[in-house]
Amino acid sequence: MSRKSNSEYSDKAGKGLHNAHTRRVVADVLSYVLLTVLGIIWVMPIVWVLLESFNANTSPYQPTFFPTEYTLNNYNMLFTDKTIMDFGQMFLRTFIIACFVCVISVTFVLLVAYCMSRMRFRFRKPFMNIVLVLGMFPGIMSVVAIYFILKAMNLTSGNMTVIALILVYSAGTGAGFYMMKGYMDTIPNSLDEAAMLDGCTRWQVFTKIILPICRPMIVYQAITGFLTPWLDFVMAKAICRTQDQWTVALGLWNMLQKEYIQNFYARFAAAAVVVSVPIAILFMVMQRFYQESMSGSVKG
C-alpha cells in the first residue's frame, strides 16, 4: 500500500506516468469489454421480442432464432381485430389506472416518509415496526379477501373494476416508505430548522424544502407506481372476471394460454412492444430528472 502511494506521488512528479497510464487504459478496456458483453445479454431478449413482433409466421416454436419473413400485419390485427380481444380498450384502461396509482402512491409514500424521517411522535416507532411486520405477510394470501371486500363495496361489476384496481394498487403503498425515508434521512436537519425559524409550518417545510430535494426518489417512486398495473396480473385476474374488464397484463397473459397461443404468439410480441412504449417514453423523460438531481440530496 505504501509502495502504491509512493508511485502515485512520483506519478505526480512525472516519473511513473507510464505505469499509471497503462494501468488505467487496461482497466478502461476491461470495463468496456465487460459492459459490452453484459449489454448484449441484456438487450438480446428485447431485440428478439421486437423482431418477433414483425414475424409473418405467427405460430410459436419456430425453427430459427430470429424470424425469416417480416410484416406489419401483427400490429394491424392487434388493434383492428376486436372479435377475440379488444386490445385498444385494455390499453386505455390500464393507462388510466396507472396514472392514478402513480399520483396516489407518490403522495402517500412522501407523506409517510416525511413524518417518519422528520417528526417525532409516540406512534412513530410502533408504526415503523408494524409496517415492517405487515410487509412480511405474503400478499397472495389476501387476494381472496380483497376480492370479497371489494365485492362488499360493490366495486367488482362492470367498469367499477377500474376504481377497484386503483384502490387495490395504491391503498397500501404508504407502507413502502423505507427507501424514501432513508433518502430524507440524508438531508441535513439544519435546512428544516432554518425554514422553521423563518416561520414555515411543517407542511410548508415539506412542500417547499423537502419535496424539491427528494426529486430523484420521487422519480423512482413514480416509475414503480406507474408500472404496478402493467405488471400485476394476479390481482387483476382475481378481480376482473370478464374480458371487457381485463387489463393489458391479463390480456397478454391470456394470449400465451393454450386457447390462444397458436394464433396469438406473434401478436403477443407486438402487444408487448406496444405496452413497452409508454413505459419507455415515461422512463426516458424521468431519467433526465433522475440523473440531474442524483448527485446528492444537498450539494456543498
Binding site: W48, V133, G174, Y178, D185, L227, W230
Partner: protein, 468 residues
C-alpha cells in the same frame, strides 16, 4: 398552542432519554378516570359532551357522530355478523361454484361471507375501542386546558395545529386508512381461515378447528401436504431468496460502479442499455423467457443448430437445472433495478471521504471496503431487507418462469415452488384455503425471524442520523 412536549413537568430522576423520546401528554385515559369532572365522565358514555361544554362544538359533534354511526352499524348488521361468526357458522349446503379458483357468490349465504362480515365487524369494534380512548383523552384535554389556560382551543386552532405541530396526523390519515382496509383487514380475514375447516370439502359448511391445520402441515401423515414436503419447499425458498437478493445486489452494485468510474465514457448510454429491460414489463419478459427455454424453444434450437448440444437442455425438467435457471433469469430481471437504485446512492457518498483516502494512499479495494460498503450498507439495509422478503414472496418469477416445475408425480409442490407459489396452488387450484393460510403464516414467521434480527442489528435502525 399547546403541543405535547411542552406541557410536561420534568421528571425527578431522568432516565436515559433517546432522541426519539416523546413525553406523554397529561391527558391520558388513566388521568381522565382519576381527575375527570362530571362532564368528562359523561363523555365516557356519550362522546363529545365534554368538548361541547367547553365550546369545542365541531369536535364534539364529530365525536358524537362517529359513536352514532358505530351504534347504528352494530344494530343493523354488525351484531348479527359477530353472532354468526362465533356461534353459528352455518352456510347453506348448496354447491359452491368457482371461477378462477375464487368462490362466486350467489343468493345463498356462504361461510366465507359470514367469516368476512364477522371479521369486519370485529375489526370495526376494535377500531371503535381505540376511538373511545381518543374520545376520552380529548374530553379530558378540553377540561384540562380549560382549567389551566382558561379556554380550550377551538376548531380553527386545531386545524392550524394539524398544519404544523401535529402535521403527522393530517399527513398519515389517508395512507394509514388505506393500509388498514386493504392490508390489515384482509390479513386478519385470511389468518382466521387457518383455524377453520374451510377447504375444498367445506366451502359452505365449516367450523373452528383450532390448531388442526397446523398439525396437518407439521406431521408425517402420508397426505399430499406433510412435514417433508414443507421442509423441502422451505429450504429451497431460503436458498432462492439468499442468492436472488445478494447476487443481484453485489453484481448490480459492481456494474453501477464500473459505469460510475471517472474514466468510463458514455455513462448515460450504458445506463440506458441496462434500464431498457425495465421498460419491458417483467411478466412479459418472463413469459418470453419461459417460451424460449422450452425443450423446443428458441434457445435449444439455436444451440442445436450451432452443433453445441445433441439433445435439448433440461431447463425446466431437471430439478438442479431449473433452480439455477430461475436464479440466473432473476438476475437478468433484477440487476437493472439494482443499478437504478444504487447509482444515486453511490453518487451521494461525500467525495471528501474519497479524497482523504487518496491522500492516505488507499487502493480501490480499501476504499470500497472502508468507505463505499459501510455507506451503502447503512443506506440500503432497509432496501436489502425488503428485497429479501420480496424474494421470499417472489410469486411472479417462479410462477411465470417455471410454474414450480419439475413436479414429482403425486406431490403438491414442484421442485422450484416457493412457499408462496405452493400457497397459491393450494388455494387457487385445490381450494384448500385453510392449509394455504397455514402456509402463509409459516412464510410470515420465516420472514419475521430473518428480517427483524437483521434489521435490529443494522446501523440505519440504531443510528438513524449517523450520516447526517
Amino acid at each position: 398552542m399547546a403541543t405535547t412536549s411542552k406541557q410536561v413537568e420534568p421528571k425527578k430522576r431522568k432516565k436515559k432519554v433517546s432522541a426519539d423520546y416523546v413525553a406523554p401528554a397529561p391527558w391520558t385515559v388513566k388521568n381522565a378516570c382519576k381527575h375527570g369532572d362530571i362532564l368528562t365522565k359523561i363523555s365516557f358514555v356519550i362522546f363529545g359532551v365534554s368538548n361541547l361544554a367547553r365550546k369545542q362544538i365541531v369536535k364534539g359533534i364529530l365525536l358524537l357522530a362517529v359513536e352514532a354511526l358505530y351504534v347504528l352499524y352494530m344494530v343493523t348488521t354488525g351484531a348479527t355478523a359477530i353472532d354468526k361468526l362465533i356461534n353459528g357458522l352455518y352456510g347453506t349446503k348448496a354447491e359452491q361454484v368457482f371461477v378462477n379458483g375464487l368462490p362466486v357468490q350467489s343468493q345463498e349465504e356462504y361461510s366465507v361471507t359470514i367469516l368476512l362480515y364477522g371479521v369486519a365487524a370485529f375489526f370495526f369494534t376494535v377500531c371503535f375501542v381505540w376511538f373511545w380512548t381518543v374520545n376520552v383523552r380529548s374530553a379530558y384535554k378540553a377540561q384540562y386546558l380549560k382549567e389551566t389556560q382558561g379556554r380550550a382551543p377551538g376548531f380553527l386552532d386545531d386545524i392550524l395545529d394539524l398544519k404544523d405541530g401535529r402535521a403527522y396526523v393530517s399527513m398519515l390519515f389517508l395512507p394509514i386508512l388505506g393500509i388498514l382496509i386493504f392490508t390489515i383487514l384482509p390479513l386478519i380475514f385470511m389468518i382466521s381461515m387457518a383455524f377453520t375447516s374451510y377447504d375444498s370439502g367445506h366451502s359452505s359448511h365449516f367450523r373452528w378447528v383450532g390448531l388442526a391445520n397446523f398439525k396437518t402441515v407439521l406431521s408425517d401423515n402420508g397426505g399430499q401436504v406433510n412435514i417433508h414436503q414443507f421442509m423441502s419447499v422451505l429450504a429451497w425458498t431460503l436458498i432462492w431468496a439468499f442468492f436472488a437478493t445478494f447476487l443481484n445486489y453485489f453484481l448490480g452494485m459492481f456494474i453501477a460502479m464500473v459505469i460510475n468510474r471517472k474514466t468510463t465514457k458514455f455513462k448515460n448510454f450504458w445506463r440506458g442499455v441496462f434500464s431498457l429491460s425495465i421498460a419491458v414489463p417483467q411478466f412479459v419478459s418472463l413469459l418470453v423467457m419461459h417460451s424460449m427455454l422450452q425443450p423446443e424453444g428458441a434457445i435449444n434450437r439455436l444451440l442445436r443448430s450451432w452443433g453445441w448440444i445433441q439433445g435439448s437442455l433440461p431447463f425446466f425438467t431437471n430439478a438442479t437445472w431449473a433452480r439455477v435457471t430461475v436464479i440466473v433469469i432473476n438476475l437478468w430481471v433484477g440487476i437493472p433495478f439494482t443499478i437504478m437504485q444504487v447509482t444515486g446512492i453511490l453518487q451521494n457518498i461525500p467525495t471528501d471521504l474519497y479524497e482523504a483516502a487518496d491522500l492516505d494512499g488507499a487502493n480501490w479495494w480499501q476504499k470500497f471496503r472502508n468507505i463505499t460498503m459501510p455507506y451503502m450498507i447503512f443506506v440500503t439495509t432497509p432496501y436489502l431487507i425488503t428485497t429479501f422478503t420480496g424474494n421470499v414472496n417472489n410469486f411472479n418469477v417462479i410462477y411465470l418462469l417455471s410454474g414450480g416445475d419439475p413436479t414429482p408425480v403425486g406431490a403438491s409442490a414442484g421442485k422450484t415452488d416457493l412457499l408462496i407459489t405452493w400457497l397459491y396452488k393450494l388455494t387457487v387450484d385445490k381450494y384448500d384455503y385453510n392449509i394455504g393460510a397455514v402456509i402463509g403464516i409459516f412464510t410470515f414467521i420465516v420472514l419475521a425471524v430473518v428480517s427483524l434480527l437483521t434489521y435490529r442489528n443494522s446501523g440505519s435502525y440504531k443510528n438513524e442520523e449517523g450520516f447526517r
